[in-house]
Symmetry: D2
Amino acid sequence: MSYEECIKACLECMKECNKCYHECLEEDDVKMLAECIRTLRECADICAFSAKSMQSGSPFVKQICQLCAEICQACGDVCKKHEHHKHCQECAETCYRCAEVCKKMAV
Amino acid sequence: MSYEECIKACLECMKECNKCYHECLEEDDVKMLAECIRTLRECADICAFSAKSMQSGSPFVKQICQLCAEICQACGDVCKKHEHHKHCQECAETCYRCAEVCKKMAV
Amino acid sequence: MSYEECIKACLECMKECNKCYHECLEEDDVKMLAECIRTLRECADICAFSAKSMQSGSPFVKQICQLCAEICQACGDVCKKHEHHKHCQECAETCYRCAEVCKKMAV
Amino acid sequence: MSYEECIKACLECMKECNKCYHECLEEDDVKMLAECIRTLRECADICAFSAKSMQSGSPFVKQICQLCAEICQACGDVCKKHEHHKHCQECAETCYRCAEVCKKMAV
């Protein structure tokens, strides 16, 4: 697992989460999506944090990627539940991929 | 206007916005609060950014506080509209106070 | 351990780290302080992240505080080494205190 | 100017600034690079902030990109001065490009 690849996965996940966050807030059933919105913000933010840590040569990359993997996994699970929202389904896939990549980085 | 005072206002506003964000997401009328939720996140984040810039001796403090003032003002306006939510009303006051302090710092 | 107390410790640590970062960059022996500067930035940033997570009711508070405790501990250790810089010594104390508080939150 | 293009420029600039920050801290003449290090951190952080604002449909994109353009321009100028460091020269180019793109977005 290269830093390059993990940074890419984190920035992709940050993008999808911010986009899905935006789209959730435009939906009619925002109430149903409250937990999703909350998790998406947090996932986008930890992904940005992870990318920064790898780009700037942090000595805490493993620990940060471990946390990022957990939040991405949880975010994927929350998004997955909203079957009728295509953006949530797509975001879930990106979150799961990022979780896997970060888990490998954390070893 | 001292840095000390402006940092305090920004951290106070960050706290109120994050708290109000959390409480908005628990309300029944989340749909009505979508714009509010979005603005609260952004306001909390720019307040954290401003505080950091002052604490770390940034040469861009004026410009950052100018932006922070604009977002706080807008966030106060959005929160103010939700008359039936006490947390929004309280948050609006904190946002307006922070906007004023940041405006003075930006001069 | 209340959220209130932990948020306070994190924001105090964020402030000291950003201040110490600024002061390290003004010193004559910056070369000696390179590792310190790098760790201070990261510690300030994770403290801001932790405070935000508690303020906004994140479900990941324990995990985030666990990471925050590790980074604060390491930052305290790095700062402690610079015996001739009063700001580093003071920052070390604040980092250790925050590490302890976050460790309790993480349990 | 599309959001897509501007987000790409901001994330590219964030990457280069974090990388250059890391490399500056490894150099022997860190003392000479102190201003550069400080500006690189700030530039990386505002670029991340700008990208997030566009990705999440912020109503403040213009103002944020305006600030981002100013900081990128200043960061490019600071990096440009360090002629003997290839990473600073490369980073300067990326900063200038991002400044230009953000300036167009801010209109």
